[in-house]
Amino acid sequence: MTQTVFAPWEDPGEKPLIQFKNVTKRFGSFTAIDNLTQDIYEREFFALLGPSGCGKTTMMRMLAGFEEVTEGQILLAGQDMARVPPNERAVNMMFQSYALFPHLSVWENIAFGLKRKKMPKSELDARVDEMLRLTRLERFARRKPHQISGGQRQRVALARSLARAPKLLLLDEPLGALDKKLRQDTQFELMDIQEKTGTTFVIVTHDQEESMTVASRVAVMDEGQIIQVATPDKIYEEPASLYVADFIGDVNIIEGIATKSGEDGYKINWSEGKEPFQAKTPRTLSEGQKAYIAIRPEKIAVSQDKPDSALNSIKGKIVDIAYLGNMSTYHVEIPGGLTIKAQTANTRRLSRRSFTWEDEVWLSWTLTAGSVLER
Amino acid sequence: MRRFSWFNATSLTFGFVFLYLPMLLLVIYSFNSSKLVTVWAGFSTKWYGELLQNEAFLDAAWVTLRVAVISSTIATVLGTMAAYVLVRSGRFLGRTLFSGMIYAPLVMPDVITGLSLLLLFIGIGLDRGVLTIVLAHTTFAMCYVSVVVSSRLVSFDKSLEEAALDLGCTPMQSFRLVTLPIIAPAVISGWLLAFTLSLDDLVIASFTAGPSSTTLPIKIFSAVRLGVSPEINALSTIMIGIVTIGVISASLITKRSMVRQQLEEQEAIRT
């Protein structure tokens, strides 16, 4: 089995398509981007994830050419972009508001960028038709933007920005205006189109689920800096910090004091007089330092009796149950006042559920279930 | 991406210089001591003195003021009624004609309006005087009032009125206690608009005024037909001054109440 995994960032010989080199962006006294360095490779689907005001939109607007870099450099295919105006960049953007021209039809909107290229008529027609087909909009070509639905508008915006065959496509919260169901379908459509066209996509989003679904790599941002860049599974399973662990998905955080235990394991003393929790980690912590265990709720098992084999187990009382359909989350209060969330899949009908409010249960997890974090 | 460029700054500067320089010159030269209006010969307020001695101007000003107050008040009542009918009454016989008659005077040349009203007054044998000017001004001003008020009524949440009815108000009470207080700013600006239109009007007043009821614009017009005069400059300065003070204080009051509302809202969020 030699199926190659798409991971150009691990290949030192690969040339990045985009390079941020010590980029800083200030608006007056406010620093939006703080000395940021990052490479993005060809054919990547790169997600910038973070809360509003974290600088992700600024990064995208600098790539498109709408904001100038205060310090540092942005290179596109090795070329410094500082002096290149937005209309001459091989970069196109899909706007959050879609920014469809209301006075032009769907067809004219898609043709807009091609006309600027002085493309021959027949070639232009063929290209617009190809885009219409790609985004399944053939039937709506003659309509004006206000005569089509939100999902169709989103596809027009995508077709329009892809029509010029950019090296890089920027997507600013592309699915933000759609409802949940449509958003999920569209995510797969986006991935499909990205694969078909082979274009590099950079997407800005505040929706962690969306970024996990579509991206080949996710960059979690906060206050103008990238906190962690990794594949979605790494971001989820091995968050680099409490911030990342908390931002992506649901997590239990237990604070304590670390003491070495065995080869690559630590004991985390989380409460005076209680059995410490044990965890494995590749990190090296100094003796007696403050540390955190971050455990995803679905990695915690709930049982009636104390499990024999588990290294970490504790008894608690169910205070709340959130029924989500496919799974249930139990909020379990353990001695010391801490509430731990544990999730179990609802493989059986609800009426046969084994636990209910006020029940005493045992929570347990393995050595590698949680990540040990320093901050 | 709004970029305020040199082009923007320049065109705004030129635009406002164009709008304000002529009036500024008028104001400055009203303090010129020379009778030759365009040659500066030193500072003087003597034209203001002469203006105050001029009985004919004072009489005309008094007529104009009376006409403006009476006609704008009646126009506000009628215009508000008309706006309410237009926005709220739905269909009724002759609605199209009614809305046509509300909008047509806005685009009608003054000479036609004036002429037609004069012919009416002569036809029914009404002597021309303050009454005829008031009738004429009320008619065209009520249309402006109804446009201003109806634009406010359109954005008015109808459920407020329904809530008042639900809580036991008669339709009249709900209008007085709920609708009127909310549309009051529009009614007031409608009145102000009607008042200024009446103060300003030359053409319609010329047709409908009798010999004993000359208004200020008629007086000014017959004076300036002969050329620029320092007395008129002084009069213009007074009028420009009143309007400027009025508009600026009105906008300051609106701004203050908006700021206060914002502060109160912030306060409400914090507590």
Binding site: - | R2, L78, G94, V111
Partner: protein
């Protein structure tokens, strides 16, 4: 019952003081001038009943309208009014668009002040605003003084009592009517549309032509009609600034009425002016309706 009064009072008022006077103008335009009080015939003889009314009808004719086409003065006045109104509308657009555009580009906190500066002249007396140009454009006026002082001209220019003075007067007094609708169209313009145009390969200038201008079209049309319609029937500006050098229909009507006391012809002039105005008024209404629909 209450609703009936609410409709009835303004309705009757407008019927009596707006519609009926028009019918009278129309009727008199079909009458003949006479040395009498009122100075036209026929007059309905109510005492004769139906016969008197029939007799009255039979005496009405289109003579005055025929007269309007025969005498040079009238159709030249109509044409010249149309031309002056059209040219000054274009001039107002050229002056007003950059101002409205720049207002829309200005920082948010300036805008209320800029708005007030545009509206303020509107509250000031129209007559005074026109009058203020008399001191500027005259032979010894400020403009000539200034130009002579700079040495650009050696002889004072004759601007007063020419069409140029009328153009300046119309542009000056109607400028706010042009600026406000264009500004409100431009203010609504989503800035990301211009970014999208640039992103798709437009230069700033072509983005302006392809996006800004088409999207402010309704504002341009509204503003143009708001200038054109009143300018066509304008009286004050041509009589104060245009003098004998310009011919405009509003002035002709006025003189026909006050100087010649020919009420039937004055009425006919008014009827034709109204007919001329109906087309732009309908177009204006259509445009307003369209832009209202666009907003929804």
């Amino acid at each position: 019952m209450r609703r009936f009064f609410l409709i009835f009072i303004p309705y009757i008022w407008l019927l009596a003081l707006f519609l009926v006077p028009f019918l009278i103008v129309f009727k008199i335009s079909l009458s003949d001038i006479a040395l009498a009080i009122p100075p036209y015939v026929p007059v309905i003889e109510w005492s004769d009943g139906w016969a008197g009314f029939k007799n009255f009808l039979s005496q009405l004719d289109l003579e005055n309208f025929v007269w309007l086409t025969q005498d040079d003065l009238y159709w030249k006045a109509y044409l010249s009014s149309l031309k002056i109104a059209a040219v000054s509308t274009v001039l107002t657009l050229m002056v007003g668009y950059p101002i409205a555009y720049s207002m829309a580009q200005a920082p948010n906190e300036w805008r209320p002040t800029l708005m007030m500066l545009v509206i303020l002249p509107f509250w000031t007396s129209f007559l005074i605003r026109v009058y203020s140009w008399m001191g500027i454009l005259g032979k010894e006026g400020f403009l000539n003084q200034f130009l002579l002082w700079t040495g650009m001209i050696s002889e004072p220019l004759q601007i007063m009592n020419t069409p140029t003075a009328v153009y300046i007067g119309i542009v000056y007094t109607y400028l706010p009517f042009m600026i406000l609708p264009i500004y409100s169209a431009l203010e609504k313009l989503d800035a990301s549309l211009l970014e999208a145009a640039e992103d798709l390969g437009c230069s700033r200038l072509s983005a302006f032509w392809l996006v800004t201008i088409p999207l402010s079209k309704n504002g341009i049309i509204a503003g143009s009609f708001l200038v054109f319609i009143p300018a066509l029937g304008e009286f004050v500006i041509p009589s104060l600034l245009g003098g004998s050098g310009t011919l405009m229909i509003g002035k002709v009507l006025w003189e026909e009425f006050f100087s010649n006391r020919d009420w039937p012809v004055a009425s006919a002039v008014a009827v034709v002016l109204l007919l001329l105005l109906i087309i732009p008024i309908i177009l204006f209404q259509k445009n307003e309706q369209k832009s209202r629909e666009m907003d929804q």
